[in-house]
Amino acid sequence: MGRSGDALAKIYLTRAEKVVFVRGDADVDFQYVADVIDVAHHAGVQRVGLLTMDREVAGE
């Protein structure tokens, strides 16, 4: 699964809500986003949120 997948799997092992949010720059190739979705799904994440309103998460 790789290091990032193993880390995510560990994080989500004990969580009831298996949700992840992905934020990516507009000029990123989709292949990288697909990799993230794939790894998250394989790590047990059930819902993936793709953030589209960058302004909304600026205060995070």
């Binding site: 949700v19 989709f30 979705i37």
Partner: protein, 162 residues
Amino acid sequence: MIYCSALRVRRMGGSELHAPKTHKISKVFCSIEASAFAAVMFVLVMVMMISESEPHHGFAVDLPQVSHAVSMSGVNREDAMVIGVRRDGAVYFGAERVRSDELPSKILNRLKKRGVERKVYISVDRRAWYGTVKQVLVGVHSAGIERVAFLADQPRRASDLR
């Protein structure tokens, strides 16, 4: 740059924000979470294309390669809603070239047909910009669709390249 964050939805501890647990911090965190859901929240999966033949939807893309894609028969249905995003940013709904802001009306129109699955399959070229995909997702979300599957290929083995 891609950021992937795992947020606690119910148990939002202050320690995650490197601050003491206070009611105020929790409220701020909640509002971020709510706006994230208001953006685009999907049940997303990567779907493996099983068929090697020419797709029936009329546009050609070089699909991303992922390791854990699942197979779904729905994508091969004749009435499946398939959106294409080509490398040059062109967007297709089925075989028809459309603008992203036309997608909600196209989807709602298709949903009027009996038996159409309330799910959208998106076929994105691996080198297409994510910004274009975001615009498509906003359109899909506006039509009330919550289930989205991205089409993918499995990585090629060295033996396949010989």
